[in-house]
Structures are given as structure tokens and as C-alpha cells.
């Protein structure tokens, strides 16, 4: 039994099966990416915060566009070679296509990696600071900073001294931004939610070991171990279940009795007369211990670290997700960041909403008032804005919000040196990965934990633009990988098929090529929409 029209086309439709299939599949992909683009536009319209326009470095996307278009051309060459029955050339062109795909993914990987290392934080007043975490040391619960290298205003020697501004001083590490240090000497663990706790309790145990403190131990003297918790949890569940079953039994008996006595009233009236209050002292009921408390042996506090997203309340007590409660003290958990991007738009919008002057509010903001280095940069920027306004007037335009309130890394470096941003020459590597922290000097600021409104690396969490960017480019990337795998299979594992049924192979390569072109097509729209608009 053979499926007809696998190789030769059917007369009335003029098509072979896989061609119809691939176009149908592409129709569904149009809907998929259409839905994604539609969501992108929806989110952008709906955004109640300044949308990160032109936030991505253009060069990687630009190069990728060329690479993908090139690979589209080479895949067509491959198909043509196959039609001419030149198997060697076919394999060569497929190989180049796959290499292009690989380069595409490598560039994409570099782009993603740069973003995952980039830190963003929003202050309570709305100021958005972007940059890289700096180094500090946590000793005996005290944060120690390495000696700051002061940037001298105006001249080149800051360049030389700043060469090492991002190298790690010995003994110092980058304290993750998303870490809270909490000092406690007692914790209680809710056994009901123990299963969710397990990951966190292990975490706590590891931390305790790191601190080289004595292990915390139960009030009765047993040390906190996972085995103890497992056993306590088992007991808790068994006893709780036993009690529940008993109560269910009593409730059933009560209902039966109530129905016997009164068979007329509707159920809901009966329910109101029914009172089943189990006597807590009833001997059949078992004791349910649902919380275990632990204290440190010596009474001295232990410092634990956890992520802010895992915590519900602090500073005097912390309740982790899942019900582990620690009572103690929030310790210094500063966020030390070197600024390579500054955005006052949110602050400006908030000020306008309150009827205040944005520029005045910025002058009064925490960042400008606390850090003279940053203030200097900001004032240089304002002068530049004046010049820009004049220049734009000649073109009949006004500076927009990005011009007024947003500083990118070139501007920050330039203004801190007292030169114009146009004089900063980006190296080729910097066009990909952003500023070179070993070469450039950036001002460093420290935010206290309670000044932080929101922080994140540049991941989907940071804002919806990055979320939708990663989803769209990620899905697109998966399609690139999928297409490359299929092309590899047809290019390098198809010798037998070529020898027995070359037309069938040609059809399949054509169909795979159609998919490849579609992937290119999506990128043609993706690049301007995400990178340029």
C-alpha cells in the first residue's frame, strides 16, 4: 500500500502532499507569530510605564538579518543543485545554510547572555538605574566595600586608573542583587506546607554550614535535620488525616441522626441546626503538631540569605514562601551598582501626574542629591539638551522624553569626563556586548534594601518588553534550530534516498526550504519591530 502523490503531483490540484502540508503548517505559524506580534502591540499600547524604545543594541540584530537572508539564498541554491542532481554542491550549500544558522544562534546567545548579566533597579521615587553589580564583601554580617577608585573630572588619567574598575578585588565578590541577608536565632517550620519548604530548608541548612555556625536545634535538643522534618511531617499528616476521618465519621452520623429526626426540612435548614463540635480532649483524636520551632544552640544569630521573591515580610520577621517563619533582623543587603544607564521617565511622569515640574523633581531625587558624581553628569546632560533643543527647532521638532530623561552609557561616560558623547568611539565588541567595564569608568551607587522598588536582571522579569522580546526571539530561535536539524538530516543523512528516489528528496528539500524561508520572513518583521521601533 503506497500513499499516492508523495512524489509526483496530483493532476487537478497540481501539488504533492508535503507541499500542501507545509503551507498549511506555515498558515498556523502565521497565526502563531501573528498572535505574538499582536500581543506585543497590545502590551505596548497598554503599558503604563515608559516603553524601552531602541533599548537593544542594533548591530547583533543587523548582522543576524544579513546572515539569515544569506542562508535563505543558500538554501535555494541547495535546492537548485539538487534539481540539477549535483549532490556534492547540494551538500555544500546545505552545510553553509546550517553554518549560517549556527552563527545566528551564537550571536543570539551572546545577546541573551549580555542581557542576563545586566542589572536593573528601580528606586522608590521612580528612578531607573541600569548597570552592573559591583563587588563587596560580607564579613561577620558587615558589608565591606573595596577601596573606591575616584574618577578625576575631565582628563585622561581616570582612564588608566579605571582600567581595573571592574576587576574583582581579592576576597570580594559580586553580591547578587536579589539576596536578602537576614539574621535570626529562631525559626519555625510549618509542617503543613513542608513539601514546598523542602527546597528552602535545604537552602537554610547549607547556609548555616557556610556560616560555620553551630546548627540550629530544636527546643527539645534535637538538631534541625531533614530526616527529623521528614519524620515530623509524616506524623503530622497521619495524625491530621486520622482526625479528619474521625470528624467525617461523626459528621455523617450527625447527619443521619438529623435526618431521622426531621425528614421534612430542606438540607440547608438541617445544616444550620447541625452542630458538630468535636471535643478537643476526646481520646480518639490524636495530637497534631503542625509547627516545629528551632533555636540556635548558643543563642547567637545565624545569617541566612534568600531571594526577595521568596519572602513575604521583613524587616523584623521574615516569612518565606511555604510558611517557614524566621524572627530576627534584616541585615545590610545593599545593592551596589555601577550605572551605565539612567532613566528618569517614570519619575517625570509621576511628577507630572502630581502637577509638579519634572526637572525640579529630578533635581530633588535621591540619586542626584546623594551622589555629586551623578549630579555632575546630569547637569552636563541638561546643557546638552539645551543645545539639542536649538538644533531640533531648526527642523521643526522638539526633544522627546527619551532625549530629556534617559541617559545611555556613552552619555554617562562622556559627561563624567566632560566631553561630548559624539567623541566616544564604540569598539566593535562594545557594539555587541555593551560598554566594556574594564575600559570605561562608571559611577557607583549603593541602594539600601528598603529603597528598592523593584529590581531584576534584564530577563523577562524586568519589564514586558524584555518578556515579549525573549519569547518572540526565543520561539524564533527554536524554529531556527528545528529547521537546521531537518536540513542537516536531508543534507547529510539522505544518500540512500538520493540514490533510490531523488525526486522525493528534492520535494522534501523544497518543503524544508519553504519552512526556512518562513523563518527568515518572521525575522524580517521581527528585527525592525523589536530592535528599531
Amino acid at each position: 500500500m503506497e500513499i499516492p502523490y508523495l512524489v509526483e503531483a496530483r493532476k487537478d490540484t497540481g501539488l504533492f502532499n508535503s507541499k500542501i502540508a507545509i503551507w498549511l503548517f506555515l498558515a498556523s505559524e502565521v497565526m502563531l507569530f501573528g498572535g505574538l506580534f499582536s500581543s506585543y502591540i497590545f502590551l505596548r499600547i497598554y503599558a503604563d510605564y515608559p516603553w524601552p524604545e531602541r533599548a537593544l543594541p542594533i548591530l547583533p540584530g543587523y548582522l543576524n538579518t544579513f546572515i539569515l537572508i544569506g542562508s535563505s539564498i543558500t538554501v535555494v541554491f541547495a535546492w537548485a543543485a539538487l534539481k540539477l542532481r549535483k549532490y556534492g554542491w547540494f551538500q555544500l550549500w546545505i552545510g553553509i545554510t546550517i553554518v549560517c544558522a549556527a552563527i545566528f544562534m551564537v550571536l543570539k546567545g551572546i545577546e541573551y547572555n549580555v542581557k542576563f548579566q545586566h542589572q536593573g533597579v528601580q528606586h522608590l521615587d521612580g528612578t531607573i538605574i541600569e548597570g552592573h553589580l559591583s563587588y563587596a564583601k560580607l564579613k561577620d554580617g558587615i558589608v565591606k566595600y573595596p577601596e573606591q577608585k575616584k574618577a578625576k573630572a575631565g582628563h585622561g588619567d581616570s582612564h588608566d586608573k579605571a582600567k581595573d574598575s571592574h576587576a574583582a578585588p581579592s576576597g570580594y565578590e559580586k553580591i547578587p542583587a536579589n539576596v536578602i541577608n537576614f539574621s535570626t536565632n529562631e525559626l519555625s517550620i510549618n509542617l503543613k506546607t513542608y513539601v514546598e519548604n523542602k527546597k528552602r530548608i535545604k537552602f537554610l541548612n547549607d547556609q548555616a554550614a557556610e556560616q560555620k555556625q553551630e546548627l540550629v536545634s530544636v527546643e527539645t535538643g534535637e538538631p534541625l535535620t531533614l530526616e527529623l522534618l521528614d519524620a515530623a511531617r509524616k506524623d503530622y499528616r497521619a495524625n491530621f488525616a486520622h482526625n479528619e476521618d474521625l470528624q467525617a465519621k461523626w459528621l455523617r452520623e450527625a447527619w443521619d441522626k438529623a435526618r431521622e429526626q426531621d425528614s421534612e426540612s430542606p438540607n440547608w435548614k438541617l445544616a444550620r441546626t447541625l452542630k458538630v463540635e468535636p471535643n478537643p480532649a476526646d481520646p480518639e483524636l490524636k495530637t497534631v503538631v503542625n509547627t516545629l520551632k528551632f533555636k540556635t544552640k548558643s543563642g547567637d544569630p545565624v545569617i541566612f540569605r534568600f531571594k526577595p521573591t521568596e519572602v513575604r515580610e521583613y524587616p523584623e520577621s521574615a516569612i518565606l514562601k511555604g510558611g517557614v517563619a524566621l524572627s530576627g533582623q534584616l541585615f545590610k543587603s545593599p545593592l551596589i551598582i555601577q550605572i551605565d544607564g539612567l532613566d528618569f521617565r517614570a519619575l517625570a511622569t509621576a511628577a507630572e501626574a502630581l502637577g509638579k515640574e519634572p526637572m525640579e523633581e529630578i533635581e530633588k531625587s535621591w540619586l542626584i542629591t546623594t551622589y555629586p558624581e551623578v549630579a555632575k553628569i546630569w547637569h552636563a546632560h541638561l546643557k546638552h539638551v539645551e543645545k539639542l533643543t536649538k538644533h531640533l527647532e531648526e527642523r521643526g521638532q522638539e526633544p522627546n522624553e527619551v532625549d530629556l530623561y534617559r541617559l545611555n552609557w556613552k552619555e554617562i561616560v562622556a559627561y563624567s569626563q566632560g566631553i561630548s558623547p559624539n567623541e566616544i568611539k564604540e569598539t566593535f565588541k562594545e557594539k555587541f556586548k555593551g560598554p566594556d567595564y574594564y575600559k570605561r569608568h562608571f559611577p557607583e551607587v549603593t541602594l539600601k534594601r528598603d529603597q528598592i522598588h523593584f529590581e531584576s536582571k534584564f530577563t523577562p522579569r524586568w519589564n514586558n518588553f524584555y518578556a515579549i522580546y525573549f519569547i518572540i526571539t526565543g520561539l524564533h530561535g527554536l524554529h531556527v534550530i528545528g529547521g537546521a536539524i531537518v536540513l542537516f538530516y536531508f543534507g547529510f543523512r539522505s544518500r540512500k534516498m538520493y540514490e533510490s528516489n531523488p525526486t522525493w528528496l528534492t520535494n522534501r528539500v523544497e518543503v524544508a526550504g519553504l519552512f526556512w524561508h518562513f523563518v527568515d520572513l518572521v525575522w524580517i518583521f521581527l528585527f525592525p519591530v523589536l530592535y528599531l521601533m
Binding site: 500500500m1 503506497e2 500513499i3 499516492p4 508523495l6 496530483r10 490540484t13 501539488l15 502532499n17 500542501i20 502540508a21 498549511l24 503548517f25 498558515a27 498556523s28 505559524e29 497565526m31 502563531l32 498572535g35 499582536s38 500581543s39 502590551l43 497598554y46 503599558a47 503604563d48 510605564y49 514546598e196 519548604n197 527546597k199 528552602r200 499528616r237 497521619a238 491530621f240 488525616a241 479528619e244 470528624q247 467525617a248 465519621k249 459528621l251 455523617r252 447527619w255 438540607n267 440547608w268 445544616a271 458538630v276 526577595p308 521573591t309 513575604r312 515580610e313 514562601k321 511555604g322 523593584f454 530577563t459 523577562p460 522579569r461 514586558n464 524584555y466 518578556a467 520561539l475 528516489n501
Partner: protein
């Protein structure tokens, strides 16, 4: 597929488990779907206990799913269903019935089994893709249900409704340390697999229908079932991707902490001010969901109408009335179904212009539906009706679906929907369409093609035991829902409305008194539901017993149909046809004679062919 030209003995696994034969895959879909339907029914029976007897502990026989008393204690409170557990059961009931039950039965089983046979193809265009579709469906379905077992999930199953709206769906189960062990995330993962399965299946069906038709089978000679499956496949192909987008976005929200669906300033009871960036839109999810959600209900419907459209001509022995109108109607229905979705969202605060647009398109879409049902109804006129088991189900389908469809009309109007949205009226409406409507049609289909699949009829006696109680109890279950809904009973009340009852005998609370008037219908409905469950037992017995004990068929075309699937041997073998089929006439042609009507089968020529083939 040239390596299949020699017939070789296949191992059990290749032949029955990992088969690429569309007939085996169709049966696999049917068995899988029916198991899921049964499980979804069980979930509903438990929910109905909580609705009827909210303060009473579940009877022990209902709590088997919880296994040991430990696991049970985390779902029930003193033996009673908690609100959270009710929500879990409710969300899974909806998901299972729609995505894992009815669509796989209608499109996966009937679409796969019957379509290639009716167009004269040896198999589907892509048999291995077909197998992949089935296993993806099974994998996706099982992943969604994993949370019922402690081993797989820390937080149970999904609990935010089958519609899974954020922000609730985003934040439910977010406390779990390992997101991949939470029911909500597993649901999303299962959904992505299911959507992939549907996409592959629909590509397969469309390619098959377009390119593998037998000689002489022009578009207007296609049996109506093939048209219906074609439109269904297009609906699945084009409507599912936005839901995949929504599912992926929600997965990213849950695992990376993004706020695609979380608005700024969101505050929840458990967490307080939510620590996300904000700026997202819950409305976006609703749009994406219902963009699929509405075509999805036509995906549910069309296979059932297809079955009924095949059964009626066979059992009236006359042509389907208005074949061309039906084809036109089903195509228009498919197209219109894409532009009505926001009628599920009338209460999201949309302005009058937008709701007027969707109102218009929704009312318009009732026209093709009415054309379809009317054509089927008129097809009965003047026919010599044999009430065979399939015909019983098909004729019951017509008024039941009629009630379901008509009750949908008030919901189409945004002013009426203001009162009825999220009430039991909606539940009554869509259950009428799906349960006594679509499922009856599909039961008819099972009875109709069973003789072809197995070579035996299903038992008529067991069918009566299945049919009559089902018909009665299903109406007893769903009709009062319409009444309760009009009175204002809300959906997803886990205690059946008990919380809203008046607290004193002379209460002046209007709503409370209304609830008190109709709350006793709950017990009546629940008992009907449990009896309905018992009524399905004869069917289960029938399906399996008839394989060995059923009356054997007399020939390859026991119902005297005219369509091509009856030209195959019984059951059809590898490659389906023993000859190269050619089509000579339209489907459903019967010739009246003194001894009754003769089926003019599509694949046989006769002297009047030259006129028929031009018809």
C-alpha cells in the same frame, strides 16, 4: 512509504500500540477519549455532591481517587469538599471534557477513522505524523492530570477554571518551590503538547482531503462528514496558535516572574503587593483564549453534526435535504466563528461599539447553525424512518441541540448577557449543546460505524437501557440549570448557593430569597446526574461485549448507506480498499422501488449514471 509494499507480520507493539494505520489510531483516540470522558464525569459527580449536600461529608465510594487517608486529608475538610478542591475538580472537568474528551472523540476518532475511508484513500497523507498526534495528545492529557497524584505534584491540579484566567491563574500555585511540580504549570505544559497534537492532526486531515480523494470524487460529491472534518481541521489549524501563545506567555510568567498578564499595583491576599514589574494585561489573555475558545466550540460541534448527517440519510433511505446549503453553511460557520470571540467577554468593560460588533456577528452565526439543523430536520420529512440505535441518537440530537442553540441566543445580546453572564444559565446552555447535543450525536456515530469496525452490531437491548435513562436524566440535570441561572445562581459556587441563603425566616434580602426558592433543585439535579452516570454502564458493557456477542453483519453495507466507507471489507484491512475506487455520483442517492428504496452507492456505475454524475 515504499517499504510498506510487502506485508510483514508486525509485532504486537507495532500493530496495536505504535500503529501508523489511521483505523487503529482512530480507535486509540476513541478509547482514550472515552476513558477521559468517564473520568471527567466522575469529577462532575463529586462536584454535584458538594452542590447538593455542601455540609455533608462525601460518601466513601466517591473518595477512591484520593487513595490513602493522608492525601485525602489534604483535599477534604472533615470529609467535605473544600472550595479549593471543588475548583480543582471544576477546572479539570472542563478541561478534560473539552480538550481530552469530546474533541479527540469527534475529530481524532471519527475524523481519523472515517475520513480516509469516505474519500477512498488507503490511509491518511502522513501516517507517522498521525501516530505522533495521538501520542502527543495522550502525553499532554496525562501531564494535565498528573496532579491528582501526590508523586507528581505538590499542589494538586489546575484550579483556575478551564479558562485559566490570569491574574488568578498566574498566582495560584505560585508558592510551590518547584514550579514544574505545580498543577497550574503542568496544565500549561499539557496544553502546549495538546495544541501541537491538534495542529499536526489538522494538517494531516486537510492534506488528505485535498489530495487523496478517489477518482471522480469532486468537491460537491464529498459526503458531508468530510466537509465537516475539513472545516474543523481549518478551525483547529488557525485558531489554536493564539492559545499556544497565551499558554507560553503564562508559562513564562510563572517560571521567570514576568508580568505579561499582571497589571501594575496588583495586590493579593497571600502575598500582599505583588513583586513583579507590572504593566501587563489580564485582558490580553482573555482575548487570546477566546480567539481559540469560540472556534473550539465549533470544533466540538461539527464532528457530531457530521455523524448525524451520515446517519439520517441511511435511516430514512432518502437524500440529505439541502446538501449544498449545508456545505455553504458549514463553510460560512467556520469563517464567522473567528470573529465572534468577544461575546464571552461582554463583562470586561468593553464599550458599546465593540460589543455591538460582536453582538452582530454572534447573531449572524446563528444563521448557518440553523440552516444545518433545519436541513437535518427537513431530511426526515417523507422518509421511511427506521429507528435503529444510531437513528435514535441522531433524532434525539436534533431537539436537544435545538434547545442548546436557542438558549444561546439571549447570551448573544450584550444587554441580556449582563444578567446571565457567569450564571447557571450559561452552564445549562453549553451543557445542552455538548452533552445531550454533541455527545448524543457521537454516540450515534459509534453505533453507526461499529458494525464496520468490528463486523458486529451493538446490542439493541443494551442501547435502550442506555438511551432512555440518559435522555430523561440528562434533561432533568440540565434544564433546571437554565431556571436557576435566570434566578441568578452563579457559576462555580461550590456550596450550591448555600452561602447566599437568607439567615432568618423573614429576611427581606431579595437575592437570598430567590436563592432559597430554587436551591432545592440542586438535589434533584445531582440525583439525576448520578443516575445518568449509572445509565452509561450499559453502554460500556455494550461496546466491549458486542465485540464477541454482537449480532454479525450480513454484508459489508449493513445500513444500506451510499458512501464509500461501506465499500471496504469488514473490518477494512491494511490499505482499506480491495479495488481502486471510482466515484460516479453524489452521496446519499436512493432510488425508490416497490420493495423500498435502494441505495445508489457512490462507487457503482449504473445506466442513469450520465445524468446523476452531472447533478
Amino acid at each position: 512509504m515504499s517499504d510498506h509494499s510487502e506485508h510483514h507480520e508486525e509485532s504486537f507493539i507495532r500493530k496495536y500500540l505504535f500503529s501508523v494505520d489511521h483505523k487503529t489510531i482512530g480507535i486509540q483516540y476513541a478509547l482514550g477519549a472515552m476513558l477521559f470522558l468517564l473520568f471527567g464525569f466522575y469529577l462532575m459527580m463529586v462536584m454535584r455532591w458538594s452542590i447538593a449536600y455542601p455540609q455533608e461529608p462525601l460518601p466513601e465510594w466517591m473518595t477512591w481517587i484520593f487513595g490513602g487517608s493522608d492525601w485525602r486529608a489534604s483535599w477534604l475538610q472533615a470529609g467535605k469538599l473544600t472550595g479549593e478542591t471543588y475548583n480543582m475538580f471544576g477546572a479539570m472537568h472542563g478541561t478534560i471534557m473539552v480538550f481530552l474528551g469530546v474533541v479527540p472523540l469527534g475529530f481524532g476518532a471519527f475524523g481519523n477513522y472515517v475520513t480516509p475511508l469516505q474519500i477512498g484513500a488507503p490511509d491518511m497523507a502522513f501516517p507517522r505524523l498521525n501516530m505522533a498526534s495521538f501520542w502527543l495528545y495522550l502525553a499532554g492529557g496525562l501531564i494535565m492530570c498528573l496532579g491528582f497524584f501526590e508523586w507528581f505534584s505538590d499542589t494538586g491540579v489546575a484550579k483556575s477554571g478551564w479558562t485559566n484566567y490570569p491574574p488568578l491563574a498566574n498566582f495560584a500555585d505560585l508558592e510551590a518551590a518547584n514550579q514544574w511540580r505545580s498543577g497550574q504549570t503542568q496544565w500549561l505544559l499539557g496544553l502546549v503538547l495538546l495544541i501541537t497534537s491538534s495542529l499536526l492532526g489538522s494538517v494531516n486531515v486537510i492534506t488528505t482531503v485535498v489530495n487523496l480523494r478517489a477518482k471522480g470524487l469532486t468537491w460537491m460529491r464529498l459526503p458531508f462528514l468530510v466537509w465537516a472534518m475539513l472545516v474543523t481541521a481549518f478551525l483547529l489549524l488557525l485558531a489554536f496558535p493564539p492559545l499556544e501563545v497565551a499558554g507560553i506567555m503564562q508559562l513564562v510568567d510563572r517560571t521567570t516572574g514576568s508580568s505579561l498578564f499582571s497589571p501594575s499595583g496588583l495586590y493579593t491576599k497571600t502575598v500582599g503587593l505583588v513583586d513583579v514589574a507590572g504593566g501587563g494585561s489580564p485582558l490580553l489573555f482573555q482575548h487570546l483564549f477566546w480567539f481559540l475558545g469560540h472556534p473550539e466550540v465549533y470544533v466540538l460541534l461539527l464532528p457530531a453534526i457530521a455523524c448525524v448527517a451520515e446517519i439520517i440519510p441511511a435511516n430514512t433511505q432518502k437524500p440529505l435535504w439541502g446538501y449544498r446549503s449545508m456545505v455553504g453553511a458549514v463553510i460560512v460557520l467556520g469563517f464567522l466563528s473567528f470573529i465572534v470571540w468577544a461575546h464571552h467577554m461582554y463583562l470586561t468593560g468593553m464599550g458599546p461599539a465593540v460589543s455591538a460588533f460582536f453582538q452582530t456577528t454572534t447573531v449572524l452565526i446563528s444563521i448557518p447553525s440553523v440552516i444545518l439543523i433545519s436541513a437535518l430536520l427537513i431530511s426526515l420529512w417523507g422518509g421511511s424512518i427506521r429507528f435503529t440505535p444510531p437513528m435514535m441518537w441522531a433524532t434525539a440530537f436534533l431537539p436537544m441541540f435545538g434547545i442548546g442553540g436557542l438558549t444561546g441566543l439571549p447570551l448573544a445580546f450584550n444587554f441580556a448577557d449582563l444578567q446571565l453572564h457567569d450564571t447557571y444559565y450559561v452552564i445549562g446552555h453549553f451543557h445542552y449543546v455538548v452533552a445531550p447535543g454533541i455527545l448524543f450525536g457521537l454516540f450515534g456515530g459509534i453505533h453507526h460505524w461499529y458494525p464496520k469496525i468490528t463486523g458486529r452490531y451493538m446490542s439493541k437491548f443494551l442501547n435502550h437501557l442506555h438511551f432512555w435513562p440518559s435522555l430523561i436524566f440528562i434533561n432533568c440535570l440540565f434544564f433546571p440549570m437554565l431556571i436557576q441561572g435566570l434566578a441568578g445562581f452563579h457559576r462555580r459556587w461550590y456550596n450550591g448557593g448555600e452561602a447566599y441563603l437568607p439567615t432568618s425566616d423573614d429576611s427581606e434580602n431579595v437575592f437570598a430569597n430567590l436563592v432559597a426558592n430554587f436551591i432545592e433543585l440542586n438535589e434533584f439535579m445531582s440525583i439525576s446526574a448520578w443516575l445518568l452516570g449509572i445509565a452509561q454502564i450499559p453502554f460500556i458493557i455494550n461496546v466491549f461485549l458486542s465485540i464477541w456477542k454482537g449480532k454479525k453483519v450480513e454484508n459489508d453495507n449493513p445500513w444500506d448507506c451510499t458512501t464509500l466507507e461501506w465499500a471496504t471489507p469488514t473490518p477494512p484491512g491494511h490499505g482499506n480498499f480491495t479495488f481502486e475506487p471510482t466515484i460516479y455520483r453524489d452521496p446519499y442517492q436512493y432510488e425508490p422501488t416497490d420493495e423500498g428504496n435502494i441505495a445508489l452507492v457512490q462507487w457503482e456505475k449504473d445506466e442513469e449514471t450520465s445524468e446523476d454524475s452531472k447533478a
